[in-house]
Symmetry: C2
């Protein structure tokens, strides 16, 4: 089982195209990772996720730590075996989820203490706990626990959380991690350039095999988001993978690629599917709309996904209106394939110098 | 496109084994038909239904008439095309669903008049409407509209409904049905032997290509059910398919086979799946039970279904507890395959003379 490897084949400005290899799969970067928070990409069988062209998925250590717990997954032979997923897995540590718990969480240098969102029981979750749980899960890429910073935050709040994120990364690095797993650190710093720079440099000096960029797309303006992102990637080592956490709107993915990001994840393909929203290269469709009741075209003409090969907008609308869960499955499969096709186009357009034209088109059809 | 054909290969007592051919598939009888009420076998992709060994499914004219309506399905190219199902389809007419509406329905010789269970709008549904809708849907086998009789019913009530069911069958037979579709009549008569016999003889004289046995398993005792069933099949032509409607509990299927039934349908495989209940040859399992949390066996050892090839009881329990819809999909696939494996065993045991031993085992493990 080889460790993580990223070979860069093409660079233009800060953007780059490469191939990443983990013990479970090899794939082109920039890559989009579907989200399987609770050890399932919602409503889609693993073989069907694979058929969308997805090679690496994300799951969530915070959720799996609470339920079913590290022991169950470890005894199952790890997360790949537990969920029957043959590709690569990245587990997020839970910093973002803990931030989302709001006032019920208390964070000290020692650990985050909070109440479980499932049953209210008290939980103490330290950076060491996060690494140990992720070692039990056995994901190819695992993440240090970070303190994700809400927006807006004062400079003092952001500084404290950034210092703690660095401290936790140092302690995480001391935990024993098997050779087949790679531990990434996470950059925080809110929208303060000097904190972002400081965090990047401190974490880089610890020499992690890859870096997540966290605390973005949490409420700041698009301008701030893109500016901080571009500033942050300046200070990360260019030979290591960069992962922009939780960001996956098509326009934001292109901005991330231009800023030099290699990896993206987002719940949009499956979450939007459950609301009847399908992605296409010409914008999104709300398939609950009555205008689709006798529309016998596939979701997107020319799409090669399993859904578009056999099912019409009319049928999927019928399933949505009848509240049949097969609707979520069919739209999720299309949306997951959309994001893989989208990344193929982004990589090709980057290589042939026309990515800015594509960004213009996507920004137009996905505005508002 | 050949019309319906049933070739009987083996007979023992009243029970028989055969091969049925419709314009869309050929399969062995006695056969189990999964239910796709709203043009979807709930939570399972059609290709995965096919992989369970299912060749014919049931859908429901009453539900599809109300939503999305005959026009949509006809314009889609028929129900096979609409739902992307390559096998055979039988559509039930809706007699049972109309009975289930209870007091809000008024039935005359002309038609059933009721309020839609979806939006309360008034609906008038005649036997002619039922045939025309099913012609628009294009199912291989379609059913006459019947007046299903609640249990208990007085003799007078049962007689009136039985007479009306015969009258409606006569009128249904006058409707134009394409060569590729076969119209079955439905036997009613509640638990009154003379009404069952009368209905069988009247419908037989109309020479339908097959016969449904309706109005059973609606509240009567098991003894009454088996007795009436055995009495009813005595008076049906032996060379025509016999379909015991809505009956699918494993023990009842064996009783049906012994009484000479060729076709069964039931919602149990998919409905029980949504409650976490899996069928096995040694009884059912409630996979929500805590004892499965670290049980890494498949649902049923030796089962060749897609679920048992890749997923453990522990994982499926986790999905159930986390309310992930993939649990329904995985258990449904297993349960659908269980019913096909069950029918294979029933046919083999019938052929080799050991079906009564198998009935004894199944009655024991599925008692109470």
């Amino acid at each position: 089982m080889a460790k993580l490897r990223l070979d860069l084949d093409f660079e233009k400005g800060k953007a780059r195209i490469g191939r990443m290899k983990t013990p479970h799969s090899e794939f082109e970067t920039p890559v989009f990772m579907p989200v399987g928070t609770q050890a399932t990409v919602k409503s889609v069988l693993p073989a069907d996720v694979l058929e969308t062209g997805s090679s690496i998925i994300l799951s969530n250590a915070y959720h799996l730590y609470l339920r079913p717990g590290p022991e169950v997954i470890h005894r199952a032979g790890g997360l790949h075996s537990f969920m029957n997923w043959p590709g690569s897995i990245l587990t997020d540590s839970g910093g973002f989820q803990i931030m989302s718990l709001g006032h019920s969480v208390s964070i000290t240098d020692e650990a985050a203490v909070f109440r479980s969102h499932i049953d209210g029981s008290p939980i103490r979750f330290s950076p060491e706990d996060a690494v140990r749980a992720q070692v039990a899960f056995g994901a190819d890429i695992i993440m240090c626990l970070d303190q994700c910073i809400e927006y807006p935050a004062t400079y003092a709040q952001a500084k404290e959380a950034t210092e703690r994120t660095i401290l936790w990364a140092e302690r995480s690095k001391k935990e024993k991690v098997p050779d087949c797993q790679s531990l990434f650190a996470i950059v925080q710093g809110s929208v303060f350039p000097e904190l972002r720079r400081y965090c990047c440099l401190e974490l880089s000096s610890l020499d992690f095999p890859g870096y997540g960029i966290g605390g973005l797309s949490v409420g700041e303006s698009k301008e701030q988001f893109y500016e901080v992102l571009n500033y942050t990637t300046e200070y990360l080592p260019s030979d290591k993978p960069r992962y922009l956490m939780g960001v996956g709107h098509p326009v934001d993915i292109i901005e991330g690629v231009l800023a030099g990001v290699d990896m993206f994840d987002c719940v949009l393909p499956t979450r939007n599917a459950r609301h009847g929203i399908a992605f296409t290269m010409d914008g999104s469709l709300n398939l609950r709309n009555a205008r689709f009741s006798q529309d016998f075209l596939p979701i997107e003409e020319g799409c090669d996904c399993m859904t578009c090969q056999g099912f019409s907008r009319s049928y999927i609308r019928h399933l949505l209106i009848a509240r049949e869960s097969l609707a979520w499955t069919l739209i999720s499969i299309h949306n997951l394939r959309f994001f893989q096709r989208f990344m193929e186009i982004v990589r090709r357009r980057l290589a042939d110098g026309t990515l800015l034209n594509f960004r213009h088109h996507i920004a137009q059809v996905y505005s508002g």
